[in-house]
């Protein structure tokens, strides 16, 4: 059986079988597919992550960001409400917010100084009635018809999501109970933002979506994980998805596989000789009573929420064409972190981000795939670890959530399976 991706100019066959998942390499490189993704995924019936409530705590705060490659603004209004609008003036289309963040009384477009309130309502148009009886807007011009385009917005825990769709289900239904529970587990009390890091990766955004749903690679690519036991596939853990298999939570518990790691003997990433001159880097503190020390939670299409040891962060994917994406890391802690915990988080920040002793390798993994698949677009990958099915597992020797991602991707892109 095959599925066919119908692009405006030709089609791409997607092999479907029961043994394993396959992804035709063309979906990572084809510019026409990228265009369809912007409409059907990022601007379609999905909720995208756009920021943390703690990034816009006060009335007048705004943050400029992107959904896919569409510029958007998220604001806090006078009543404390959160609003998301496209960052595009209703007059002639200029960017309204030109800074990444700030606090303003109102939003003003520099081009002809149209003014909007924090909810995107148009409140000022210079020379609207003309000057000295000349010029002015037409009779029928109504301020209320020229606001910024508003998106639906909702929050879970401290995370803000928005969507262009008026059809997609409410956010909590979209995420599903398992994902909501894990978001709320991490968002158990007020947070403090510790800063942003931005990483420009030369590869398709879906390679990163695969990577973050893949517990198979984590102990084989990342020596720090394996050697120091931050994560190993021998640990207690698992991979769970929502009902539609688009979101995933991977968990692992450090210290549950001692004396049980002989399968790693001889692998590059398990190196007992490797010790730290200054072990304070890994001297963390137990934070959660459930014993789970690693959570990688992904929501379709653009968020990773993570807990690795005592590091907490969101990672937002911003697409920049088929061959490039920006990964925006925002680290956070809790408002009531004591000084010792603040120091732990600052030091363990060395593990994550673009210079992270663990996470830097994921950027490299994405890039070496993207570089190799540039031709032979009909060839496809083989995704079979754990049985090749999109199923929840109570172990970490699996690629099942990667298959789940692609099943939902085909649905949301309207790529249907058909007999071949």
């Amino acid at each position: 059986m095959n599925a066919v991706i119908d692009t405006t100019n030709g089609s791409l066959y997607w092999p479907i079988d029961d043994e394993a998942g396959h992804v035709p390499y063309g979906v990572f490189t084809d510019a026409r597919i990228y265009e369809v993704e912007q409409e059907r995924i990022f601007r379609g019936d999905n909720w995208s992550f756009i920021g943390l409530t703690a990034e816009i705590p006060d009335p007048g705060d705004f943050k400029a960001t992107y959904i896919g490659d569409t510029p958007v603004i998220v604001t806090r209004d006078r009543e404390g409400g959160i609003n998301v609008m496209t960052n595009r003036c209703a007059h002639r289309g200029a960017l309204v917010c030109r800074s990444a963040r700030g606090n303003v009384d109102e939003l003003e477009c520099v081009y002809h100084q149209w003014k909007y309130d924090m909810q995107g309502k148009l409140i000022g148009v210079p020379f609207r009635r003309g000057l000295g009886g000349r010029g002015g807007m037409p009779e029928g011009f109504r301020m209320e018809q020229h606001g910024l385009d508003r998106l639906r917005v909702d929050t879970v825990g401290h995370l803000i999501f928005a969507t262009f769709s008026d059809k997609v289900e409410p956010l909590k239904d979209y995420l599903g109970a398992v994902i909501v529970r894990h978001i709320e587990r991490i968002c158990h009390s007020p947070i403090r933002v510790l800063g942003d890091e931005r990483q420009l990766v030369q590869g398709n955004w879906k390679l990163y979506a695969e990577n973050t749903r893949d517990p198979y690679h984590a102990s084989l690519l990342h020596l720090f994980h394996t050697t120091f036991g931050l994560y190993r596939s021998t640990q207690k853990g698992g991979s769970w998805m929502d009902g539609k298999k688009r979101h995933t939570v991977l968990t692992a518990s450090q210290g549950t596989d001692e004396g049980n790691t002989e399968e790693y003997d001889g692998l590059r990433t398990f190196n007992a000789e490797f010790t730290l001159r200054d072990p304070s880097l890994l001297a963390g503190r137990k934070e959660f009573n459930d014993g789970v020390t690693l959570v990688i939670l992904t929501t379709f299409p653009n968020l990773v929420l993570q807990q690795i040891a005592n590091t907490l962060a969101v990672r937002q994917t911003v697409t920049k064409g088929p061959g490039q994406f920006e990964l925006v890391w925002t680290q956070f802690g809790y408002e009531d972190d004591d000084e010792e915990m603040q120091n732990i988080r600052n030091k363990q920040g060395n593990l994550i981000g673009p210079a992270g002793l663990i996470s830097m390798e994921d950027g490299e993994a994405v890039e070496i795939v993207h570089e190799a698949i540039i031709r032979d677009q009909e060839e496809s990958s083989y995704i079979g670890m754990g049985g090749g099915k999109a199923e929840d597992t109570e172990h970490l020797v699996t690629e099942s959530a990667v298959i789940g991602f692609w099943e939902y991707y085909r649905k949301t892109m309207h790529i249907e399976a058909e007999a071949s």
Binding site: G195, D196, R198, F274, S280, P354, L357, E364, E367
Partner: protein, 162 residues
């Protein structure tokens, strides 16, 4: 070396020598020697201007001992996975801002050009060093070195120190 006995010109000379030798060590890929430019209890940090100016702590790299610097290099050599590359630092505007109780406050601008195996050279990272320098016997060492970078969109990843 007794810092308060040096003239302003001598101080400038020694600081420029230190900065020059520091970036030469990295550019020549003698990274095992790189931690020796620091005191045992040093602070070394690479942080974006975006975070630094907001007073936020999240750094790309944050080390508070020479041992952590050694660990970074051992990790780079043996653990981390990244594309082969070379750095070329360009330094300018080396200024001494003060000398207080044996600690020189200095700053300079830097530009790191990166060359990968395809031979193309990119502007990889531009920023400013804020340094605290002390005398250790006959040589100067960094007690603190903060690289505050303007280039907050890091290309691919950051593994080699700046």
């Amino acid at each position: 070396m007794e810092l308060n006995k040096l003239s302003a010109m001598e101080l400038q000379y020694h600081v420029e020598q230190l900065q020059g030798r520091y970036v030469e060590c990295i550019d020549d890929d003698r990274l095992e020697q790189w931690p020796e430019f620091f005191t045992e209890d040093c602070i070394y940090k690479i942080i974006s201007r975006e975070n630094h100016e907001r007073g936020l702590p999240a750094a790309a790299i944050f080390c508070d001992s020479r041992g952590m610097l050694v660990d970074r290099i051992v990790s780079l050599r043996n653990a981390n996975v990244y594309a082969e590359h070379n750095y070329r630092h360009v330094l300018s505007n080396i200024l001494i801002k003060g000398l207080n109780e044996g600690v020189i406050s200095a700053q300079s601008n830097y530009l790191v050009l990166q060359t990968k195996t395809d031979g193309a050279t990119d502007i990889y990272n531009a920023g400013k060093y804020l340094d605290k320098i002390v005398a250790d016997g006959d040589v100067l060492k960094f007690k603190g070195k903060i690289a505050i970078f303007d280039t907050h969109q890091i290309k691919s990843l950051l593994v080699t120190p700046i």
